[in-house]
């Protein structure tokens, strides 16, 4: 009760003081909870609209609550956003994050019994109103991040009512990037406001021109029809400038998308570059190794969620070695039980591994069910980094970096470890290697395990951008073979160049030809290329090839 009195009696709200006193009296007379009905200020009236359970009324109520200046209004709107604003028996309650309830009209504590209360329902329209209202209310917040968020919200809502607060916020803002955001919010409001003087509008256009992104362009190219001619001319010029600027960045953006697609292809194909490229095994079950890696990630995350939720951010790092082991082990078993009997018989290998891939798929379907499994994204992989007019999503950046590090480590393993030496020796001349005392069959198994294990860790990365379902691998097997064949069989560098070329070509074609035609065009180009150079981009030379 005391909290409510203090809150309502706070200096800026003297108008309410009389009501407040009456409220206190009533509260004492009628005991707890009966007081709110006696109040009929704009805030209380608006609150009652929430109880109608209608989106239109909720929308209207948000605006009135935000304008009322009541100290609880911020709490009410935040609670609404998080679905913590409850209605029951004609009254409105805020549930604190701690679970305690307070009466939204008076601020009194209300215990923590939710009982029959229901949260006020929220839809997109209401969410937009919330965002706009919060923008206006938090412009003067002491937290810089919230001020920035508020400035962006006002920029989007273009709510004229926020203008006075905005001016005040700009005057006292010390951080340059927040100040820029505040100023572009002001520019957005002034530009569409009919009665703003042309001088102000021209200044606004200049601010937006400097901002130079798609949102600014949208504002500049949609001026109100009654704008003065000099403003229209200036806006047109600024919009043209922004268009040129954006077109320039768009080219970079396409290349980045290409690199990112290329790195996904690289990840999927790099394991195959070992099993098919160096060992010559046509392994149709390669995609299923990727899938096993993804399911391992899922299992790891499930265990972490149950036993150690604090480790969730590191779940992918924990999954990496496990996925390598699981897929690698399956690879070794596959090699020992099936493939080793079929060396030198590519057609039979193809059919046998195709069968194995179906068995693995159906096995996973039986164990985990046919539906997708949810693999969460750690916070550090969510969101996007803005560079100029480009936006690079963190998960794609992580995958690009990851793909290149896998490539580098594999290159090092093949170049500098004894296993790598043996693998190269066996690939180049099996009989000679055998004569030198290398146990060729053991090396075959290990190399196959290595290739499969790498496919497994690709699965960890792909679980972040694709479905974790039994069909995951099928989507990548064709592309992987394409990359390896195009890049040149038996050459890791070829795989890298092949993956990047295909990725970038695909993404540069896509805006013009569409996703379907782009893919077809690329396929035809590869067929023609392979006709001209059957051994791919980087063909192995020497006696090993002829053997």
């Amino acid at each position: 009760m005391r909290a409510a009195v203090a809150a309502l009696a706070a200096p800026p709200f003297k108008v309410h003081f009389m009501f407040c006193l009456r409220n206190v009296l009533h509260a004492f007379v009628l005991l707890l909870g009966m007081a709110s009905a006696a109040l009929a200020g704009p805030y209380e009236e608006a609150l009652l609209k929430f109880t109608n359970d209608s989106y239109a009324d909720t929308d209207a109520a948000i605006g009135s609550v935000a304008r009322s200046g009541n100290p609880l209004s911020l709490d009410v709107i935040e609670a609404l956003r998080d679905e913590r604003l409850l209605i029951g028996s004609g009254q409105v309650f805020i549930r604190r994050t701690s679970g305690e309830l307070i009466n939204a009209a008076t601020g009194q504590a209300w215990g923590n019994q939710v009982g029959e209360m229901k949260p006020v329902r929220v839809n997109n329209r209401v969410r937009r109103a919330i965002e706009a209202a919060l923008g206006g209310l938090t412009l003067l917040s002491s937290d810089a991040a919230r001020r920035l968020e508020a400035a962006r919200a006002v920029f989007r809502s273009r709510d004229e009512a926020a203008l006075p607060t905005l001016e005040k916020a700009i005057a006292q803002e010390s951080l340059p990037h927040v100040r820029d955001a505040l100023e572009s919010a002001r520019a957005a409001i002034l530009l569409i406001r009919p009665d703003a003087p042309p001088m102000q509008k021209l200044a606004s256009i200049e601010t937006l021109r400097i901002r130079g992104d798609q949102e600014a362009l949208a504002l500049l190219s949609n001026l109100p029809s009654n704008a003065p001619s000099e403003v229209v001319a200036a806006a047109g010029k600024a919009a043209d400038g922004i268009r040129t600027h954006l077109a320039f960045w768009e080219a970079f953006q396409s290349v980045w998308y290409g690199i990112s697609l290329g790195s996904v292809l690289l990840l999927a194909a790099i394991g195959l570059a070992i099993t098919f490229g160096t060992m010559g095994v046509i392994n149709m079950a390669h995609g299923e190794m990727v899938m096993l890696g993804a399911y391992t990630t899922f299992m790891v995350q499930e265990l972490i969620r149950t036993y150690a939720p604090g480790l969730f951010e590191a779940s992918l790092l924990i999954a990496l070695p496990l996925a390598f082991l699981v897929a690698g082990l399956v690879g070794v078993i596959l090699e020992r039980t099936v493939i080793r009997f079929l060396y030198g018989r590519p057609l039979e290998t193809l059919l046998a591994t195709w069968g194995v891939s179906l068995i693995l798929q159906q096995g996973v379907r039986t164990i985990f069910g046919p539906t997708n499994r949810e693999v969460g994204t750690p916070a550090w992989m969510s969101g996007a980094l803005d560079i100029g007019a480009m936006s690079l999503t963190y998960n794609r950046i992580a995958i690009v970096v990851f793909a290149f590090s896998v490539f580098a480590s594999l290159l090092l393993v093949l170049r500098y470890t004894s296993l790598g030496l043996y693998v190269r020796a066996v690939t180049q001349n099996r009989r000679m290697a055998g004569s030198m005392g290398i146990r060729t069959s053991r090396i075959d198994a290990l190399a196959f395990g290595l290739g499969s294990g790498v496919a497994g860790i690709a699965g960890v990365a792909l679980s972040q951008i694709d479905n974790v379902s039994p069909n995951l691998g099928q989507g990548y097997i064709i592309d992987s073979f394409m990359v390896v064949v195009f890049g040149g069989v038996g050459n890791l560098w070829g795989t890298l160049v092949g993956a990047m070329t295909l990725g970038i070509a695909n993404k540069l074609l896509e805006p013009y030809a569409g996703a379907v035609l782009g893919k077809i065009a690329l396929l035809i180009a590869i067929i023609v290329f392979i006709q001209r150079r059957p051994r791919g981009l980087f063909a192995l030379k020497g006696r090993a090839v002829e053997a």
């Binding site: 989106y55 329902r121 839809n123 997109n124 329209r125 969410r127 937009r128 965002e131 989007r156 798609q214 949102e215 362009l217 949208a218 504002l219 190219s221 949609n222 953006q253 396409s254 998308y257 990112s260 697609l261 996904v264 798929q361 159906q362 379907r365 069910g369 046919p370 539906t371 997708n372 499994r373 949810e374 969460g376 994204t377 969510s382 969101g383 996007a384 936006s391 999503t393 963190y394 998960n395 794609r396 972040q464 951008i465 694709d466 479905n467 974790v468 379902s469 039994p470 069909n471 099928q474 989507g475 695909n506 993404k507 896509e510 805006p511 569409g514 996703a515 379907v516 893919k519």
Partner: protein, 429 residues
Amino acid sequence: MSIFDITRRNLMTLAAAALVSSATAQAARAEETIKVGVLHSLSGTMAISETTLKDVMLMLLEEQNKKGGLLGKKLEAVVVDPASNWPLFAEKARELISQHKVSVVFGAWTSVSRKSVLPVFKELNSILFYPVQYEGEESERNVFYTGAAPNQQAIPAVDYLAKEEKVERWVLAGTDYVYPRTTNKILEAYLKSKGVKAEDIMISYTPFGHSDWQTIVADIKKFGSAGKKTAVVSTINGDANVPFYKELANQGVKATDIPVVAFSVGEEELAGIDTKPLVGHLAAWNYFQSVETPENKAFIEKWKAFTKNEKRVSNDPMEAHVIGFNMWVKAVEKAGTTDPDKVIDAIVGIKVPNLTGGVSEMLPNHHITKPVLIGEIKEDGQFDTVWQTDGLVAGDAWSKHLEGSKDLIADWQTLKCGNYNTVTKKCGS
């Protein structure tokens, strides 16, 4: 040599004996039970969606048997697996009808699988209940369409966006096959008839299982920043949805800025995604698990008990099977036989309660009446119904918005025709 001969002869007799005995066993059982075919993929790409429907059918049959079966006989499910392989659907349908002598088949998901089994059902004169929303432009005597036609899903969804979200610019994004292409053709014609200009419509198709959505989402963002309110109407099917929604979330496309309304994303599909960034995106269906009616509550309880899994979700095509099965049961009871011709005649006009509180009716065009619900995705992967039609909407076999199809009607009761042209007064367009 002689030993070999004997073994071979033995084998032959054994096989023959086995054949005879199994045939007699089948004949004996056929007298006692009514067989119901279930033709849903249990392996391959479509298993993700279709396995659930098989489970629903098994539950419905078990329930009906507990009530004493049908016409005094027990119902027996014959489950086959067409393995997401379209020609195999036709083979398996033939196997169900000619070999297992089923009285009715519940099955198929994709339009191409439906098209593949159509000739078989016509030739062998059997009945198919098809439970999935589809592109329309079809009405067959042997098929009952319990999913939504475009006017029961796509058109109301677009109306909702235009009215409630004030959308003026439209992205029609779909997977490249018959359902999205036809639906988008209908939507494009409809939007243009409502005064939307060609430059305010962007159409984009992607291959099945498309996983790299960076360019398309960036295009949508760019298209949406022209100052007019923009929405995406998604007929993206199956697995491609997960990476699409992930990319939307990553590139910061929020439902409050550019809402996506999907026609193929339901509770089952959302179960595989982290739904937090998707809150507010929409879906249009005729049923949501979150609908609060006593019928739905009872159904969900039974479903969870049957699957022994508290987390199993229910979705729209499941409800379609529930309605279809109940209609078939009523029609068989009315006809007093499972003979397809009699059931086809008896079923038109049959009314059964649906799970959203209404009563659906089988129409002469072999489509049914359904309510249309628009839902927003909530954080828990369920939908919050934000809008629904006042009453039930009758399914149109032929779209009113397409040239060449707007004059056609289907009526299997009086006209006995699936494509009667009201202008030329002739059957067969």
